[in-house]
């Protein structure tokens, strides 16, 4: 085994034997998720690896595993065990080896259509599944084979199997953009990363009909779990960066701005690329923060003056440089951003600081870093720290929102009276139903919001689309602007028409806009909708999770009265609640 693979095994993943030991641990209290696993090769090990890996991400997978080679039967026959089991996720692993058999069996002219034929098949799986269950389909793409027929010439002819596999992978990407509940597990990327020799074990394939090698299992299982976690609202939102010897080489306080390594100096290119990576993440919507042991002026100097720094001060939402302990500083960053510690990643070259943060804030993800800064980026990329279940254009603005929020925190200090402060903000809100423009953001917010979320219903874009087209629902979305900036779409309400009342199926809000009176404004709007449609009563429900304690008393605070599990508000004599937000 070469050293590259050793590095991967020891740092990125536990080996399968170690991982499997999780199966004997106590799963009590973990969120249960029903998962079906289908493959055209034997999947028993993958089943074990998935359950063991889910444990590490705080889930208990209840897995239905079909005998192998039943993929289409299970998916297309509505009376199959799969539909009986009614999973939330269906993982399908069809292999390049079996696809090759299919290719070989086709007439020469049909071979040109292999990628279309297979894409149609997957599309059919998806739609059959989607019509029957609300399950998400996680489909493995295909590892690219070494072409032993045409050699390198296989790139030059569409009759080659390699050409068809590459085309198929591209078509699967396109299909998953069209089918919102279809997620591609990038098995091609993973097997390239592992190395074909390590991902596929021919001896196991012919001897035991297993396609994945034992050494490949942990990485593949982890990536499946990453997708499922992200869809369940568990993903990273913030990257906290140490500076000296993490973002640049050297110590700014000792070496001075001319001597830190970034750009052309010394090992600077490695640090520049790492900064590029962070900046790309910021553009994708990850919040960047700095946590450094330095005097603030000194720490900021390279961001302001160094010509080759990639990151600039306005890339950083919260900049903390002082001599306090880093766990306290991360608590401070958390208090400003108002996101969970489990949504944070902390990068630091110093093992002491890493351990301090791990010990004090075990929920924060603190990757080990390789000793050599040249290896940082390769290493971090392989960890797949920032899996996501959605992407919308608004993500690019997120960092800016948090910077504006810091501006508001400072402004508020000038007011003793909260109402005066709220008035001074000049807030306006645009209210509209779900439409095709805000649909991705609505789905995303349902996946991201953990704290101000009354029932924590997670919607995919497909779910939101169906609700918005249904006659049984009203949907409301709210944005919020003020003199500091535009917060974007920050609140979503889904109202279900029931016989006796209008039921609030979803009420969620971004924690960026807490304490602005948005709750009152939202309720006023809900009541208007209810009245307009001749409802006399509104019902709400609070479903507790480990994170939404802040809205436990939400309905009580708004004057609802308890009715069994539900909260009710009679709206015939409703007094419009105080709000400083103008309808836009």
């Amino acid at each position: 085994m070469n050293s590259g693979l050793n590095f991967l095994q020891t740092n990125v993943n536990k080996d399968f034997t170690t991982l499997k030991k999780n199966l004997k641990k106590d799963f009590t209290g973990l969120k249960k998720i029903k998962v079906a696993l289908l493959g055209d090769s034997a999947t028993q090990f993958l089943n074990q690896a998935l359950r063991a890996c889910a444990y590490e991400q705080g889930f208990e997978f209840e897995i239905y595993e079909a005998d192998y080679n039943q993929v289409s039967r299970q998916l297309l026959d509505l009376s199959s065990d799969l539909y009986q089991f009614a999973p939330e996720f269906v993982i399908v692993f069809e292999s390049t080896q079996k696809l090759q058999h299919k290719f070989n069996s086709l007439q020469k002219s049909e071979r040109l259509q292999l990628s279309e034929l297979k894409t149609e098949e997957v599309k059919n799986y998806y739609h059959t599944l989607n019509r029957q269950l609300k399950a998400k389909l996680i489909y493995f793409n295909f590892s690219e084979p070494m072409d032993g027929q045409f050699g390198n010439y296989s790139n030059k002819t569409s009759f080659s199997f390699l050409y068809q596999v590459r085309k198929l992978n591209l078509e699967l990407m396109n299909l998953s953009q069209e089918c919102k509940n279809l997620f591609i597990l990038d098995y091609q990327a993973l097997s390239a990363h592992l190395g074909r020799q390590m991902a596929f074990d021919a001896k196991m394939f012919y001897g035991a009909s297993m396609n994945l090698s034992i050494d490949g299992l942990p990485l593949v299982a982890k990536n499946c779990c990453d997708i499922i976690s992200a869809i369940n609202g568990k993903f990273k939102k913030c990257l906290i960066l140490d500076l000296d010897n993490t973002m640049w080489g050297g110590i700014i306080g000792d070496d001075g701005i001319e001597n830190i390594e970034v750009g052309d100096l010394g090992n600077g290119k490695a640090f520049s690329d790492l900064q590029q990576w962070a900046r790309q993440l910021k553009q994708r919507g990850i919040i960047l923060a700095v946590c450094s042991k330095n005097d603030e002026q000194t720490a900021k100097e390279p961001f302001l003056k160094h010509p080759e720094m990639v990151l600039r001060l306005d890339d950083i939402a919260v900049f903390v440089a002082n001599w306090n302990n880093k766990a306290d500083n991360i608590r401070y960053i958390q208090s400003i951003l108002n996101i969970g510690f489990d949504a944070m990643v902390f990068l630091d070259d110093n093992p002491f600081e890493r351990n301090l943060v791990r010990t004090n804030l075990p929920e924060v993800e603190v990757p080990e870093l390789p000793e050599d800064p040249s290896m940082y980026l390769e290493y971090l990329s392989a960890l797949n720290l920032f899996e996501t279940a959605s992407y919308s254009e608004e993500d690019e603005l997120r960092n800016k929102h948090y910077q504006q929020e810091a501006g508001r925190v400072i402004a508020q200090k000038n007011f003793t009276n909260e109402d005066d402060f709220l008035k001074s903000l000049g807030m306006t809100s645009k209210v509209e139903p779900v439409n095709k423009f805000n649909l991705p953001r609505v789905a995303q917010l349902s996946q991201r919001s953990n704290q101000f979320n009354l029932r924590t219903v997670r919607y995919t874009e497909e779910d939101v689309l169906q609700i918005s087209q249904s006659e049984n629902y009203f949907t409301l979305t709210f944005d919020l602007k003020d003199k500091f900036g535009d917060n974007g779409l920050i609140c979503v309400v889904v109202l279900k028409k029931e016989v006796s009342a209008l039921f609030i199926e979803t009420w969620l809000m971004s924690c960026r806009v807490l304490k602005r009176g948005m709750e009152n404004f939202t309720l006023n709007t809900i009541v208007e909708v209810a009245k307009k449609n001749n409802f006399k009563k509104i019902q709400g429900e609070y479903l507790a999770t480990s994170k939404n304690g802040m809205v436990k008393e939400h309905y009580a605070r708004l004057g609802f009265s308890e009715a069994g599990q539900l909260w009710e508000l009679n709206i015939e004599n409703y007094q419009t609640k105080k709000s400083f937000i103008q309808l836009n």
């Binding site: 085994m1 399968f16 034997t17 499997k20 030991k21 004997k24 028993q44 090990f45 074990d201 001896k203 196991m204 012919y206 001897g207 035991a208 297993m210 090698s213 034992i214 050494d215």
Partner: protein
Amino acid sequence: MQKSEIIEQVNKIFVDVLDNDAIVINETTSAADVDEWDSLTHIQLVVAIEKHFKLKFTSAEIRDWKNVGEMSDTILQRLN
């Protein structure tokens, strides 16, 4: 390396892979004697043994073993 030494090392691998400290194997031990040793964990054992001794078995060798002794004979042959 002596055969006894090989069996001792293989024993450690069995304990680790099968996650059971109580497992003690000898030359005549076969899958029937160890609860956790089934066709599935057998694959895991083979891969772990290959890695430990830095060698690769052929498919035919793996098929032919009747017990730990025969497996150790193959390892011994390869190492010498």
